[in-house]
């Protein structure tokens, strides 16, 4: 099977493009800026995204540059934000609504699940919903139970939606551009713990800014990363690790620390999923660890585990393991007890290797 994996740090024929070192917020802002300038149908709306530029500053400067009718604040009403975006998409605009925290997206779920995800199907292609819903997700910032959740599995379960989660500034820009250009509705979850720098799982250590890391080198100008293509973070033989978002950095650090020759895939897009890359890796290593921050039961890890077992069973030399958040709300004071950190991941790695 031909590999569809794109090697790490290969900027897709953009080797000679000038780069800047950006954090993930700046990379997202850059993608939005580029798409707004390229396509007048792109508009941005959301709570506090206008004059203020968003609570995480992802839309900073865009209202000033593109005007109040293309970048504007909204009522605190996620159903209205998504519902209006669906109507704008039907008109022919390409809305990029921001939901301030993924934890706030639930009032908009019906508009996403019953409407945006189904428009193309139920109208046999007469109407589409080319929206990209951006939303910061995940914990690790002491956000408590309402600013820390990882609800990606609610969306991967919905046919008609695509779910994208970047783990580096380079990917955030290219994937966001691809998501905005995509004619299907895309949920774009931004791991807010790594907005300013990658995270190795040790919460008591100071944040290392992105500019110290090569993945912060973001080509200038337009480029896109196709949805549905995983990124090979590290080539190895001992076990396959499937992760996305913040956890990509944590598993990389734990494998390094433990001296495990892991084959690490950053999935980048959960739906559509790069199944070829997963199969190729697991067939090579015979062992598979799946890591996500979201709660365990019916999490996306369950889907990954089932797929690996169904498709790679005769290559497996150990049971597939999942490391996840616990099936509790995200507790404020015990946030680092909830977080699937180095201990939980390390134990699972040992278990897989001992099998």
């Amino acid at each position: 099977m031909a590999s569809s994996v794109i090697e790490d740090d290969t900027p897709f024929g953009l080797e000679d493009a000038p780069t800047r070192s950006l954090n993930m917020i700046e990379a997202i802002n850059d993608a939005l800026d580029i798409m707004m300038s390229r396509d007048p149908s792109v508009i941005i709306m959301g709570e506090d995204v206008g004059f203020f530029g968003g609570v995480f500053r992802c839309t900073a400067g865009l209202q000033e540059k593109y005007g109040k009718t293309r970048v504007f604040d909204t009522p605190i009403n996620e159903c209205g934000i998504i519902g209006a975006a669906v109507g704008m998409g039907a008109y022919g605009l390409r809305p990029v609504p921001e939901i301030q925290f993924a934890d706030y997206i639930y009032p908009g779920l019906d508009q996403l699940i019953s409407e945006a995800a189904r428009l193309r199907y139920r109208s046999a292609g007469e109407f589409i919903a080319p929206l990209t819903v951006r939303s910061p997700f995940g914990g690790g910032i002491f956000g408590g139970q309402t600013h820390s959740q990882s609800p990606e599995a609610l969306f991967t379960h919905v046919s008609g939606l695509k779910t994208v989660i970047p783990s580096t500034p380079h990917d955030a820009k290219g994937l966001l551009i691809a998501a905005i250009e995509d004619d299907d509705p895309v949920i774009f979850f931004e791991p807010k713990r790594i907005y300013n720098g990658p995270f190795d799982g040790y919460y008591d250590k100071p944040v290392q800014p992105w500019k110290k890391f090569p993945q912060s080198k973001v080509p200038e100008g337009y480029y896109s990363i196709p949805l549905g293509k995983a990124r090979k973070v590290r080539d190895g033989e001992a076990m396959t690790i499937l992760a996305y978002g913040t956890m990509v950095h944590v598993v990389e650090a734990v494998a390094r620390e433990k001296g495990i020759d892991a084959d690490i895939l950053d999935l980048r897009t959960l739906v559509p999923l790069d199944i070829e890359a997963i199969e190729e890796s697991v067939e090579k290593t015979g062992r598979c660890l799946i890591v996500h921050e979201a709660t365990r039961t019916s999490g996306f890890g369950a889907e990954l585990s089932a797929l690996v077992t169904e498709r790679c069973f005769y290559h497996l030399e150990a049971p597939v393991e999942r490391v996840t958040g616990f099936d509790t709300p995200y507790p404020h004071s015990l946030e680092w007890a909830f977080f699937p950190g180095p201990i939980r991941i390390g134990e699972a790695m040992d278990k897989i290797l001992e099998a």
């Binding site: 508009i43 009718t69 293309r70 909204t74 009522p75 009403n77 159903c79 209205g80 998504i82 519902g83 209006a84 975006a85 669906v86 109507g87 704008m88 998409g89 039907a90 008109y91 022919g92 605009l93 809305p95 009032p107 019906d110 508009q111 019953s114 409407e115 428009l119 193309r120 199907y121 139920r122 109208s123 046999a124 292609g125 007469e126 109407f127 589409i128 046919s159 008609g160 695509k162 995509d182 004619d183 299907d184 549905g228 739906v271 559509p272 999923l273 199944i275």
Partner: protein, 430 residues
């Protein structure tokens, strides 16, 4: 605390006991119906403010009832849209055709040609008259009982029936429940089936039109029961905040399946009065008076087109028949409600008006009714050539997997292959 949340409800103090109010309609099956409590206003008595007025100037109209046609079948007052006889006859024809269509489709469902149908009997004016007052390219976001819009906009009856039968000719590929039409060419948004979801979408479309400096406006329809949904609040607040060029039509037909309007707050105030709280224009009209409905839509459309912003219109009407073919209203409401409804029937009222002004007669009405029935019959025969709802073989199995996404991802490709294998086992001769 002696009686906390887990207490047995026996009060140990001298505060009065609380009582839960559960609304109850005035009449149940078998009851004598007396509608004298309904304030039926005098036709022509309601003021018509300038279309560019402050929204608050419409506040009295949100609890009034705009009426044009009098008991003597003449048109009265400032809301009379003064339509020429040809336009009035066209309106009558579209309403009659809608009713004839409903009759035949209802029978078709009973004959097993399809699974489901919804009539709009008694409510024809609330879709036909607005469709005539709007521009043909104004975008409409209907609910499930506005077939009159498609008929008025000239959507072929055959296409409607193909959709209702989910047959080979169904442009929606047999995917949607009957009557959940879609026609982009007729500026008619795909009908959802989830309630009130179309309302913030209509506002979003209207916002987009304003963002682009377009001249087209949007209009949406929902039932009074659906106004209880959060989506309707979302629509109102977005419409108000951005002064969106949109018309929010609340069709108050008194019943949401078996729940009367009291379960949407109708006991306390009118549905048009929702507009007052949002600071947008609100009109309450006699929904069985086609001239009043036309005039209200025209007023709101002119206002929206001139950047005057949104209008909420409550169409006060009555659902003359069941909610759908799956409903039996005799189980929960008095049959007399329909016969006693004080605002009459919209088709009869327009017909009587045309006769009163010397532009119509009973013979022509009989001829029109016959012509409508024949048109529908011919369209039905034509559509039946494409099949009726049946064994599921009208559309290639692969179409089940298309349009979920723009492109077919690997997992759907695999599932499509499975479905096609199953087909060969289930229907080997097909």
């Amino acid at each position: 605390m002696a009686n906390g949340p887990t207490g047995n409800g026996q009060v140990g103090h001298n505060r009065p006991s609380l009582r839960l109010h559960v609304p109850e309609p005035k009449f149940r099956p078998g009851d004598e119906v007396d509608f004298s409590h309904l304030a039926v206003t005098k036709p022509g008595a309601q003021p018509r403010p300038d279309e560019s007025c402050e929204a608050s100037e419409t506040n009295p109209l949100a609890t009034d009832l705009v009426r044009v046609l009098g008991d003597d079948n003449q048109a009265y007052g400032p809301w009379d849209p003064r339509l020429d006889p040809d336009t009035l006859r066209a309106m009558l024809e579209k309403m009659a055709l809608t009713r004839a269509f409903d009759e035949r489709m209802y029978r078709g469902q009973r004959q097993g040609k399809t699974s489901f149908y919804m009539k709009c009997t008694g409510e024809e004016a609330t879709s036909v008259a607005p469709a005539m007052a709007l521009a043909s390219d104004d975008m409409v976001f209907p609910s499930y009982r506005q077939q009159g819009i498609l008929i008025t906009r000239g959507y072929p009856l055959v296409e409607m029936i193909n959709q209702i039968y989910s047959n080979r000719g169904d442009k929606l590929k047999g995917r949607q429940l009957p009557i959940m039409y879609s026609s982009r060419a007729h500026s008619f948004f795909t009908i959802s089936g989830n309630l009130a979801t179309q309302t913030p979408q209509a506002v979003g479309w209207a916002m987009a039109s304003a963002i682009r400096g377009d001249s087209r406006i949007a209009a949406t329809w929902l039932g009074e029961g659906s106004t209880a949904e959060g989506d309707f609040h979302s629509a109102c607040i977005f419409a108000a905040v951005y002064n969106a060029p949109v018309i929010l039509n609340v069709v108050n037909n008194q019943w949401a399946i078996s729940s009367f309007s009291g379960f949407a707050g109708g006991e306390r105030t009118t549905f048009a009065a929702r507009a007052v709280g949002y600071g947008i224009a609100g009109l309450r009209v006699d929904g069985n008076d086609p001239l009043a409905v036309y005039a209200a839509t025209q007023w709101a459309a002119n206002r929206a087109r001139a950047n005057g912003g949104p209008t909420l219109i409550e169409h006060f009407t009555y659902r003359a028949e069941g909610h759908s073919t799956s409903d039996d209203p005799t189980a929960y409401r008095s049959a007399q409600e329909h016969t006693e409804w004080p605002l009459g029937d919209p088709i009869m009222r327009l017909k009587d008006h045309l006769i009163a002004i010397g532009e119509w007669d009973e013979d022509r009405q009989s001829a029109l009714d016959l012509e409508c029935a024949e048109k529908v019959k011919a369209a039905t025969k034509e559509a039946e050539k494409n099949g009726i709802l049946g064994h599921g073989l009208h559309h290639p199995f692969h179409t089940m997997f298309e349009d979920v996404y723009e492109d077919l991802p690997w997992h759907l490709e695999e599932q499509a292959a499975q479905a096609i294998r199953e087909r060969k086992i289930k229907w080997p001769q097909a």
